[in-house]
């Protein structure tokens, strides 16, 4: 009975999202309070769930008490718990930021859309069924369309149209892959499918592999991997930066889905194309960061590059590399979000220059912003004091055994240098150089400290990840072991013994 708490990360945002609609016109603060309260509740729930997940085997919760291959299950394991906690923490930071900076007043229904986005994310992390994965992808995408367009403007609309079209085509491909897999195996439950794919006759293996590659392509589209990355920089640069900070986890949904389905269902054969694509994306992302002329584009390209770093480690499909990737995963999400929030603060407190990377007259509160930008830059480029350095070290160490070690080291170290140069250049232009012209709005009041609180919260989380790197890596190693222990996953979903008799 107590397992019902596994459904709480879905129910809480669903109810909160509906409840905020009631307080839309008057008493807007109640809506905001519900939204932030729901994020706090999600953190509490996911900490409890993480405690359970750490205790042992994955736990499956059958919705409506229908047994696994027939009904829909939610599966909680270490990986899912980690992603839930990360989403909840990021959700708290972004919802507070959006409320404090007044982003939620720039259009309708911000908090509802935000909660439904959380619902889609949590659902995608918890579900144990491929079709439900598709449905939750759609839920989070629909919410993200709304959030992306929030605040409007012609540029945002044009980017929004492209974003919607690209994702609609992605969903179409997802359905094709699902259809192929269902036609071959007669099931959509991931654990059940894992067993069935292994037992396919030789003639059907090729078709299953095609479906697996198609799925990998769809997930790579969500993670913005090289040939499929084109939508991301434009979309994220056009969206409100606070929204883009939340979207930092959406690329990780793609990475998560790859981590979940590829080892479980297809073995590691489907990942052969992943490594070169990830290396190319890393190069592209950080070179784009260097070339960007606006702050938002810079942050968007930084996100592309650091997600590619994560996928490089995932693509090796090996225990140690996966553990390193898992340690890097919260880091890259939080640091990209931190950069986006910092960029938002910088844009808000600057004058007419906006997001362009050009010198400006001095303005109040520059010191604090410079500190935040420095911290975000250190985190994103993976310099020593923060967790990115440890993450990159772990990834580099894990790749030693791989045959592609030279290529990986060259690209990782080279792009780190490029990222460093790009971020240092932007930072020195923004905060060191001074425009000689008279300040246009010298009488503007100094910015409120409260607005920077969410950014400092993210920074504190990054610092915490660094300080607790010992226990964190231990957790990630156990998680990685659990990802590759597909037998344990199948057992806990289908129950021991009846793996064969699942579908008549």
């Amino acid at each position: 009975m107590i397992e019902a708490l596994i459904a709480a990360p879905l129910l809480l945002p669903a109810f909160a999202g509906t409840a905020t609609l009631l307080f839309l016109r008057r008493r807007r603060w109640i809506g905001a309070a519900i939204s932030i309260g729901s994020a706090l509740g999600l953190i509490a729930v996911s900490i409890i769930l993480m405690g359970w997940a750490t205790a042992g085997e994955p736990t499956a919760y059958a919705l409506g008490d229908w047994p696994a291959p027939f009904g829909i299950v939610l599966v909680l394991d270490r990986l899912a718990a980690l992603m839930l906690l990360l989403t909840a923490l990021l959700g708290l930071a972004v919802s507070v930021h959006a409320t404090v900076t007044g982003l939620d007043r720039k259009g309708w229904h911000f908090h509802s859309l935000f909660q439904f986005e959380l619902l889609g994310l949590n659902g995608a992390f918890l579900t144990g069924d491929l079709f439900n994965l598709f449905v939750f992808f759609e839920v989070l995408l629909i919410a993200s369309y709304g959030l992306m367009l929030h605040g409007q403007g012609a540029r945002r609309l044009t980017a929004g149209v492209q974003y919607v079209i690209v994702n609609l085509i992605g969903s179409t491909l997802f359905l094709v892959a699902l259809g192929l897999l269902y036609g071959l195996t007669g099931t959509l439950n991931m654990a059940h499918m894992a067993g069935r794919v292994a037992m396919l006759p030789a003639g059907d293996q090729g078709l299953a592999q095609a479906a697996g590659l198609l799925l990998a392509a769809v997930f790579a589209l969500k993670a913005a991997l090289l040939p499929l990355h084109l939508w991301l920089p434009r979309t994220y640069a056009a969206a409100a930066p606070a929204v883009a900070a939340l979207f930092a986890i959406m690329t990780k949904v793609g990475a998560y889905a790859i981590m979940r389905t590829m080892p479980l269902i297809f073995g590691d054969a489907a990942g052969a194309f992943l490594l070169p694509a990830a290396l190319g994306t890393m190069l592209l992302g950080f070179v784009g960061l260097l070339a960007a002329r606006g702050l938002r584009e810079m942050a968007a390209f930084g996100l592309v590059g650091s997600t590619a770093m994560l996928l490089t480690a995932v693509a090796l499909f090996d225990g140690q590399a996966m553990a390193a990737a898992l340690y890097y995963l919260p880091h890259t999400t939080l640091s990209a979000a931190l950069l986006f929030l910092t960029v938002d603060l910088i844009i808000r407190w600057r004058g007419a220059e906006g997001a362009a990377i050009v010198p400006t007259p001095r303005y109040a509160g520059q010191g604090m912003l410079a500190f935040l930008f420095l911290a975000a830059a250190v985190a994103l480029s993976g310099l020593p004091p923060l967790s990115g350095f440890i993450g990159k070290l772990l990834i580099l160490r894990a790749t030693l055994a791989s045959p592609h070690v030279v290529a990986i080291w060259v690209v990782v170290l080279g792009t780190s240098l490029i990222a460093l140069i790009g971020l240092a250049r932007a930072g020195s232009r923004l905060f060191w150089k001074e425009d000689a012209t008279q300040p246009v709005n010298a009488d503007r009041p100094a910015p409120g400290r409260v607005e920077a609180l969410p950014a400092f919260f993210l920074l504190a989380l990054l610092a915490g990840l660094t300080i607790c790197s010992g226990p964190a890596t231990a957790y990630m190693e156990a998680t990685s072991a659990q990802i590759f222990d597909t037998g344990g996953y199948v057992r806990s979903v289908l129950g021991s013994g009846d793996e064969g008799k699942g579908g008549e």
Partner: protein
């Protein structure tokens, strides 16, 4: 002609037309193309449970052969989602046309409108 051939070629033609239209740079053909793609996918999902005739997906007295009911449930979900998505894409492209004054997907305004007297000159 067998039913399999008809269904398969219908899916193929819809997909081909859909891909062609989505590759056009203007929002209206793109939306049409997306619709065709989603029809193709719905047919495809419907067909993955194998094509059978005269067999219901639900229990009925005296019958021994059934169709797989799951693809029909999947198609239903996919239809609902794709309807909603198409409506969103239509509204969005309309709004973006009104806001930017062009229906190009990349938002770029055309360089020159086609001149009616081109044939006369050449």
């Amino acid at each position: 002609m067998s039913m399999e051939f008809l269904v398969a070629s219908a899916i193929g033609m819809l997909t081909a037309a859909g891909i062609y239209l989505t590759l056009r740079g203007r929002t209206f053909p793109v939306v049409l193309g997306l619709t065709m793609l989603s029809y193709a996918i719905n047919l495809f999902l419907f067909a993955i449970g194998r094509l059978t005739r005269n067999s219901p997906p639900l229990y009925e007295k005296g019958l021994t052969s059934y169709t797989d009911p799951l693809p029909q449930a999947l198609v239903l979900t996919a239809i609902v989602i794709s309807f909603g998505m198409t409506a969103l894409a239509v509204v969005l492209s309309l709004r973006s046309f009104l806001e930017t004054g062009t229906d190009q997907v990349d938002g770029a305004v055309e360089a020159d409108p086609p001149r009616p007297d081109r044939e006369a000159q050449s």
